[in-house]
């Protein structure tokens, strides 16, 4: 089977069940590698879902018989699959419908609670996120002091087992807030310095001490909750600290030192720009707050959230972007545009791309296989008509996850065609 596709596969008709080509050659596209580099005319050689080589197409002789599919992409842009870290995507479908919310378990210390098995591989929301180039994610639990354990999933799969890239990659700690109060919206109370801050910290330390002791003793009696912590001390389990304020960040640094945490990550870190040297010295990575958010304080520069990526880059802190917040699941499709805004406010294009691809994968510990279009990595990438960070030109021509072509339709495009069809039949369409 030697198919040469010269025309563009607009809204590609590959479906999950159709026969998929095995040896794929992507030719002449403008490659954004993901590591900060570009290749203006690239040849990407794919076999068995892996990138077997990346070459300059000008110096590469195409032998059509070697390929199941050759796709010419002159003038098009190729990107590694973008990543949605720290997301409830796949764990919720409709925010207001409680029955569809599967991300917040009862309990304060829930390291044993795992998102992996709650991941909805058939999520309709995911299908609309994928079509903007976001191909991987980290479904993450919410609530409590330790919310639970996240996993890293590809946005393709028959079930959660298929979809898993990295099971149980880390536990998530909601660091005690150094400011507290606020009440609830109908009966608000003033916010002030959290009087319980130090006792809440003590409790967290005590829990870690207990978990550490449990791990050292290797008792016969199993404690399901503490088993969930084992990886923190033994393996490569990451510890994600959800925190924004300066006081919290400084205390997290102490905590990381005390327990010799190998892979500490701060999620949020609005104030991280004030202590970039400390974060750099302690090798603590930061997943910045949603770029499209309002400044935290009335007096903050109006564009501070837009500029945080640049400020962290200038401070040489390892960082990536994430999108947690209001309506985060459906909004994950706008992650490319968070990077776009970060570019407008100081990052270069390739730095911005990296902030939602390779940097994310490095922080998540999956960069050996994902995050950039390089030899030996998974063929998880997509092609856009133009600049994928710009809303107007983020038009996907194809997307591969582990070498599999993804459908570029979703229930929204289905409804689009259905209703444009309605008006066409009535003679009112274009």
């Amino acid at each position: 089977m030697k198919v040469v596709i010269y025309t563009l596969m607009l809204l590609a008709s590959f479906s999950a069940v159709a026969q998929q080509p095995n040896r794929i050659l992507l030719l002449d596209g403008f490659l954004h590698v993901g590591n900060g580099e570009v290749m203006e005319r690239s040849a990407i050689l794919i076999e068995d879902g892996k990138i077997i080589d990346v070459r300059n197409s000008l110096a590469y002789t195409v032998k059509p018989e070697e390929w199941d599919t050759i796709i010419r992409l002159e003038g098009k842009h190729i990107y590694p699959g973008f990543v949605a870290p720290n997301t409830t995507l796949g764990l919720t479908e409709i925010d207001a419908v409680r029955a569809t919310r599967d991300f917040d378990e009862v309990g304060t210390y829930n390291p044993h609670v795992r998102t992996q098995i709650a991941f909805n591989a058939e999520s309709k929301v995911i299908s609309t996120v994928r079509t903007n180039g976001v191909l991987l994610g980290q479904p993450t639990p919410r609530g409590g002091r330790i919310s639970g354990t996240s996993s890293i999933m590809r946005f393709d799969g028959w079930n959660w087992e298929d979809a898993t890239i990295s099971a149980n990659d880390g536990i998530h700690i909601n660091w005690p807030s150094s400011l507290d109060g606020g009440g609830w919206w109908a009966e608000p109370k003033p916010k002030e310095r959290n009087k319980n801050y130090s006792s809440e910290l003590d409790e967290l330390y005590a829990f870690f001490d207990m978990a550490q002791a449990y791990n050292e003793i290797k008792s016969e009696e199993r404690d399901v909750r503490l088993e969930g912590m084992k990886g923190v001390f033994e393996d490569d389990l990451r510890v994600f600290f959800h925190a924004e304020e300066l006081q919290q960040i400084l205390d997290i640094i102490d905590f990381v030192k005390k327990y010799k945490i190998k892979h500490p990550v701060i999620i949020g870190g609005y104030d991280a720009y004030l202590v970039t040297d400390l974060l750099r010295d302690h090798k603590i990575a930061v997943m910045l707050p949603r770029v499209h958010s309002l400044p935290e304080n009335e007096d903050d520069p109006v564009d501070l959230p837009y500029r945080l990526p640049t400020l962290l880059k200038e401070g040489n802190v390892k960082f990536c972007l994430q999108n947690a917040g209001d309506m985060e699941a459906m909004n994950a499709r706008n992650i490319p545009f968070l990077a776009g805004t970060a570019r407008a406010y100081g990052l270069s294009t390739e730095e911005a791309v990296k902030a939602i691809s390779l940097s994310s994968c490095e922080i998540l510990g999956i960069d050996k296989d994902y995050g950039s279009v390089e030899k030996g990595k998974s063929a998880t990438l997509f092609v856009s008509e133009g600049d994928a960070l710009d809303i107007r030109t983020n038009q996907l021509l194809l997307a591969l996850i582990d070498g599999q072509f993804m459908p570029l339709t979703n229930m929204q495009t289905d409804l689009y065609y259905k209703y444009t069809g309605k008006y066409k039949r009535a003679g009112k369409g274009k």
Binding site: I94, W185, R193, R392, K428
Partner: protein, 1011 residues
Amino acid sequence: MKHLILYLSLMVSVSAAAQIVPSNGVKSSEPEWIAIKGATIVVSPEKKIDNGTLLIHNGVIEKVGSIVVLPKGTVEIDLSGKVIYPAFIELNSSIGMPELKKPQWNPRPQMESSKDSKYYWNESIHPEIDAKNLFSYDQKGVEGMYAKGFGYALTRQHDGISQGTGAFIALGHRDNENKVLDAPNAFFSFKKGVSRQTYPSSQMGAIALLRQALYDAQWYASQTDQSLNLSLDALNNQLRSTLFFHTYDKLEILRANKIANEFDLKFTYIGSGSEYTVAKELKALGSSVVIPLNFPEAYDVKDPYISRQIPLSDLRHWELAPKNPYILVENGVEICISGNENAKSEDFWKNLRIARANGLSRSEAIKALTVRPASIIGLSDKIGTLEQGKIASFMVYSEDPLEKESELLEAWLNGKRKVVKTLKEQQITGKYDLIIAGKTLEINITGDAEKPVGKIKMPYTDEESGMIKDSLVSASVSVEKNDITIQFIAVSNDWKGNVSLHGKVTERLGIFEGGGILPDGTWVKWSGIKKDKGEKEKEKQKEQEIDSTYQLWYPNMAYGFDSIPQQESYIITNATLWTNEEIGIIPNATLVIENGKIKFAGQGPYPKPAGSIVIDAKGKHVTTGIIDEHSHIAISKGVNEGGQAISAEVSIADVVNPEDINIYRQLSGGVTAAQLLHGSANPIGGRSALIKLKWGSTAEEMLIENAPKFIKFALGENVKQANWGDFNTVRFPQTRMGVEQVYIDAFTRARAYEAAWKAYKADTSSVKPARDLELDALVEILNSERFISCHSYVQSEINMLMKVAESFGFRVNTFTHILEGYKVADKMKEHGAGGSTFSDWWAYKYEVNDAIPYNANILHEQGVVVAINSDDAEMGRRLNQEAAKSVKYGGMSEEDAWKMVTLNPAKLLHLDDRMGSLKEGKDADIVIWSTNPLSIDAKVEKTFVDGILLYDQSRTRELEKRDRAEKARIITKMLSSNKRGEPSKRFVRKKRGQYHCDTLGEEYSTEENSH
């Protein structure tokens, strides 16, 4: 005789006693005439008598002067050296009122009043409550009042919107010495108080409710055959009296004053302490303001992590609040001063002196505490000064309390004396020669008169050297009236051991004289002769320094302007103009702005107004300002009046908040105008405010002049309270079926109401219909004089509302959100409705499951006027990006996509004759972009509103620097205050949040947005 007295007490309300109470035992008598002599008497703000005499007859001042002839039998009291002030008048008291009880909490909403039908239908309107009937004597309260110098209180329960009548009380030392004076008055506020009734739940609801109650009262008065309503009766009576309006922030004064104008009323405002920022507006109102002396304590700023979070607005308020009285007076506002917010009397006095040090003149301060409140309450003939005929309520102080720290010595209430504190009469501090049995020692007495401390210098012969040296020995000194005792252990050559002395003091001459006992037990005579004055006395004479300088910003917070920027003429050259007109997007073009309007937009020769500022916009793109059809920024105290299914009577225009930082943030995103919509909690919500984002201006100035009238409607899950929990299942409607009937019923009633008015106007002798603010708005809708912007998602309900509208003969102007509009685009087109949609939101609730980002495109293709809106303060500042999503999802042209956030919302708001495109004569609402505004790289460089440059990227960096410096300056000042050990408070962080469609109550939401 008994009858006669009762009769008199009705005539003369200041009678000594309204009744004769039988006494238990022998009748005790009190002196008829009392004369106070020797004191400095502050008779009135202008008149002060040194060493004067005050003659009191039966609790009333008979005479005051330097020389007063005293009748026989006058009891004379010598208060030489003391200072007398007339008792102050508190207009905002709740002394003697029973504690307010909030009804028990219940998760089920209470829709109707729990009172019976002879009262107003809403429990927060209770004008019939008369504080006189609630008052009970409160000894502690009275002591607290006179400790602050107050002897009169206008007291009431601080509860409700129409609160009732306060009781004016000339306070007495005992229950039967209290006098209730006749001073008709009424109090109002925008706070619902303890009523549990759901309505009103917002400030705009409170405003509408008060207006409706006033109209109801007018109508009630015009009717003869109405069943008795005690509330409306009381309200009608009150409106002829002195009216007070209790406000909780400065903007409420301006809001209340709109009601005053509408009903030709005059309010005296009870203020909150931040009125200085609106001093000019207050002067224009011509009303007096009763201000508290509640100057904020310094924040504890020792921890820089905390102090960096304190907003500049709070820091500036800390610095400027003490100037509130001065700034108001300087701007010609008549003020009264209230002590009600000072729990401790020391704080009141301290703050009064701080106010003086910040520029408040002595005579203004006295006026504000005495004659002005007396005149406001209509009792100038009885209280306020110490002139003949006035009530003898006054305070005696050790020093002048307006000038220096002093002590209250006596409180005279209604002619009755109470000695609060007896000063140690003798000021004995200083150095004396102590002559005991012919030997002279030097004693230095320090400390105050209460606790003197003595040190005695005592010569002795040093044994080693043989030299005569001095040793300092402590002596215990105490004074009781004229007697002094001094005791010390002597170590001199003459005596070793205890020496105790007792004697009389003659302060005036600085002499002690008496007898004592020496260590050997011999009695001796001794005397002391003063050598110089004590240090403490010198210190007290130090003059207070007065600093009345201040600089306000507009608004008085971060990014505020030193002065309001002015309109200028601009010539913007070499620009790419997105005209939104037939000529489309044109490169190398020129835009000329003059007098706030566009003078020229195009290529080729252009006019050059004199004095124009030329901006070279080479490489830049210039557009008209973004108009947000659906915004909830800049709103005070509640975006939803969700207390009822229909709240057409309320208006967002009543509660615009010009100090919301989001105004400035939106300018930085190129937004120049917005429709501030009521939320979506009920099928018929409130009226909109159409504003220009004029940062630095007042709320009134932001409202667009002669703007078309709009109102919010809403459909779906929010109005049927689908996501409000299990207890909110009471309010009709709970289904989409019910929603339709709410509309049909409302418009049917509106038609009947209109017909009734028509009939009345044709024959004014017929029965006059009652004015109904809710139906007024609905009639406007029926007559296409008010336009609907309807929150909507699902096609069924969109279709339903169009059918209801058609059956009543009007059109739905705009469906906002309209996420399933693409399913009924043809029907909308036929009906004539426009759509204002989110670009790509979905999946946040069940009814938006079929929302698609192609919606705008399909609607546009079908000829519907489409806008893209924000409904969100964050998204509102990057609507250019949202417009770009129309290009991505469905391939709209860039020119059309840009109109989604500019011309089309202008059309939907019926403002396209003055905004929305770059056309000569239209408003100069202009944005200069760094590049194509639909590009993700686009940044706003300058935003003009009405030809005024309100946002400038480079200037905003300057403002950031200025704000940082200002913050550092004030924090340094606070630090020195912290170090002086002045009281400080912990920083309480402002809640960060914003209004969403479904936010209930008066506070901002920090919950997730569910639209």
